[in-house]
């Protein structure tokens, strides 16, 4: 067992897959000698060399497109686009085309491509917006967002082995945070399996990414009031583990959905709709959503803090589902 940060765990996952499969390579901006932004690729160039750790020009659309082309020819490319705000530059290639290829080709084409992006409000100013919902809406692309180092490594390994395009999102607020014991060996975390990370009877909090930790802090506060909650860490928005969500709501009868992405048409809305459609009979109270309002993220730290969901807002939402 080694104690690693999320950044180190992701890199270890990539390195293990590159050792296992010579068809795996990575390309992106400043990922060679520089080691990638926030050390996202630290050590890979030294081990695997410039042929498989490929520095590219600032051409996000071009390199994601090249990833699609190489994947169609049987490689397993990983493309590091640095930050999620550049998703706008690759939506045609990743969203409209790559996601459709398997279906449109009647199953002949496969696009085993991982697109990595950092995002998330945290210690770094800028590049922080959570735009994952743009892609979650489109058919054929998986969207992974680990909440901790262990999952980050196992999910990256699963993403590389997956025969579909995967948008792999790495939260900058978690990146160089808590170290965790990482199991050695082939610890793959399948994409599409949510995890119950805390158990209670009164309410279900569904969260993902950095919001999982905030939900846990809210749960500790609520526990002091005698309110015990389930926390479902989604881990992936696509595939969505509907069964895990419904199973928990069937038990608790109350649900709060937490999302760092914007509320309007965000993935939290889809989860609320899922429970309204398929689990309405379990509900004892209206569903609550805690999400970032639809406003461009303001710059000043204190303003930024006001709009991102926190443990106080999550706990308050749980209490609202409990009154009556």
């Amino acid at each position: 067992m080694a104690r690693l940060t999320m950044q180190q765990a992701v890199v270890e996952g990539i390195a293990e897959e590159m050792r296992r499969d010579s068809g795996v390579f990575i390309m992106g901006l400043d990922i060679g000698r520089f080691g990638g932004p926030l050390n996202s690729c630290k050590g890979l160039w030294e081990e695997f060399g410039a042929a498989r750790v490929i520095d590219t020009p600032i051409s996000e659309g071009g390199i994601v497109g090249a990833g699609v082309g190489a994947a169609l020819m049987g490689k397993r490319p990983i493309v590091d686009i640095m930050f999620l705000e550049y998703l706008s530059l690759v939506l045609q290639q990743l969203g409209c085309d790559a996601g459709a290829m398997h279906y449109y080709s009647d199953g002949k084409a496969r696009v085993p491509l991982v697109v990595r992006a950092k995002f998330g409000v945290g210690p770094y100013h800028g590049h922080a917006y959570d735009y994952h919902a743009w892609v979650a809406h489109l058919p054929g692309i998986k969207v992974a967002m680990p909440s901790n180092a262990c999952d980050a490594k196992g999910m990256m390994k699963a993403a590389i082995r997956d025969d579909n395009p995967v948008l792999f999102l790495e939260h900058m607020g978690l990146y160089h945070g808590a170290r965790e014991e990482i199991p050695q060996g082939d610890a793959v975390v399948p994409l599409g399996e949510a995890k119950l990370v805390r158990e209670g009877r009164e309410a279900t909090v569904v969260a993902i990414g950095a919001m999982v930790r905030r939900a846990q802090l809210a749960a500790e506060a609520l526990a002091k009031e005698g309110i015990e909650i389930d926390i479902v860490d989604l881990r992936c928005v696509v595939p969505l583990d509907k069964a895990r969500i419904l199973e928990s709501v069937a038990k608790t009868g109350r649900m709060v959905v937490v999302s760092e992405s914007m509320k309007f048409c965000g993935s939290g809305a889809e989860i609320a709709a899922l429970v309204a459609e398929e689990g309405f009979r379990f509900l004892k109270a209206p569903i609550e959503r805690v999400a970032t309002p639809n406003v461009p993220i303001p710059f000043a730290r204190n303003l930024e803090k006001m709009i991102i969901p926190d443990e106080i807002g999550i706990a308050a939402a749980v209490r609202r589902t409990m009154k009556d």
């Binding site: 051409s59 279906y103 009647d106 054929g140």
Partner: protein, 330 residues
């Protein structure tokens, strides 16, 4: 017969197929994008690649490209209106997207440009494999205005990828003329990327073929990408139903005198590769082949609901959710 003669006849045959497809499909479908007048570029690019090479065709000429890769003409034509016998079984249109199993990377959406990046990626895969594979990407002069062109060619240049980019320069983007499209010649951009560029007469199928094969050979040797600007003219409309109000009839007539099929036919006769009877027989054979394929395609069935495949969006199955029947309904 010499190898050269075989090649010249094959080029002629592919041009004839391209034109016959235009004639037959265009008569029935006003939305068809004809390659009329551009057959020299189509045949010059798509004949003579190896089976392992990646071919990334322009949409105008896609069916001919797939046919040149060994595609079944009836199945390709069945894809025009999504019949069950088509390569995608009706899930996508064959006129812009050829089957990947033929080594063709088509357009999986209506946006032009990203396919040049897919070609660069296919070339990157070939470079990693180091077995001499190449990619050939063909695009229109309209597409050349897209940022994708610049990103793809620059990336290929920087990484010295084995890819040949060919501009099927028909001098129009729908109604937008070359003068309105480009501040300079497309071929001159090659110098800016630091790669070889060559301007060829796109109406001379042999010139296109020879230029492409030279660039492909160079790429196979690991000497990097090249750009070919194949200058031709779109004698047909953007679509079969295009009234062409944006250009003069004189201009179109002038280019008709440089018809690539007529030019090459004269060469075949002059060089004694074919005699008049041979030329006529080739035309008749192509017309019969296309007619038979079209007849077959039009009698093929439309897809049934089993093709819909709502759980076949992802490789390995699934549609993005893992639900359980337990929770369905009341």
């Amino acid at each position: 017969m010499t190898a050269r003669n075989d090649t010249w006849i094959a080029l002629h045959r592919l041009m004839l197929v391209t034109r016959e497809l235009d004639r037959v499909i265009g008569a029935a479908d006003g939305h068809w994008h004809p390659a009329l007048g551009e057959e020299g570029v189509v045949a010059g690019c798509y004949h003579g690649l190896r089976s392992g090479d990646a071919l990334v065709p322009h949409y105008r000429g896609m069916l001919a490209a797939c046919y040149a890769r060994g595609g079944d003409l009836a199945r390709l034509l069945a894809g025009l209106d999504g019949r069950a016998t088509s390569y995608s079984r009706g899930r996508y249109r064959s006129d812009v997207c050829g089957p990947i199993e033929l080594g063709v990377i088509g357009l999986y959406s209506g946006a032009l440009g990203p396919t040049l990046e897919y070609a660069a990626g296919a070339a990157l895969a070939a470079k990693l494999d180091a077995k001499g594979g190449v990619a050939v990407a063909v695009f229109g002069d309209g597409t050349a205005s897209r940022g994708n062109f610049h990103e793809a060619v620059n990336l290929a240049a920087v990484l010295r990828l084995p890819v040949v980019f060919v501009c099927q320069n028909n001098q129009f983007a729908i109604s937008t003329s070359a003068q309105q499209e480009h501040g300079g010649r497309i071929v001159d951009r090659a110098a800016g990327f630091g790669i070889p560029g060559e301007l060829v007469d796109g109406n001379d199928v042999v010139a296109v073929h020879d230029a492409l094969q030279a660039a492909v050979a160079r790429a196979r040797r690991g000497e990097g990408p090249a750009l070919i600007d194949a200058l031709t003219y779109r004698v047909g409309g953007h679509m079969a139903s295009d009234p062409g109000t944006y250009r003069s009839g004189e201009e179109v007539e002038k280019w008709k005198t440089r018809d690539p099929i007529a030019l090459h036919e004269r060469r075949l006769l002059a060089e004694g590769v074919l005699d008049a009877a041979g030329v006529t027989a080739l035309r008749a054979a192509v017309a019969a082949e296309v007619a038979a394929a079209m007849k077959q395609a039009q009698s093929d069935p439309m897809p049934g609901p089993e093709v819909l495949g709502l759980d076949r969006v992802f490789a390995g199955g699934g549609n993005g959710g893992t639900s359980v029947p337990l929770f369905r309904g009341a």
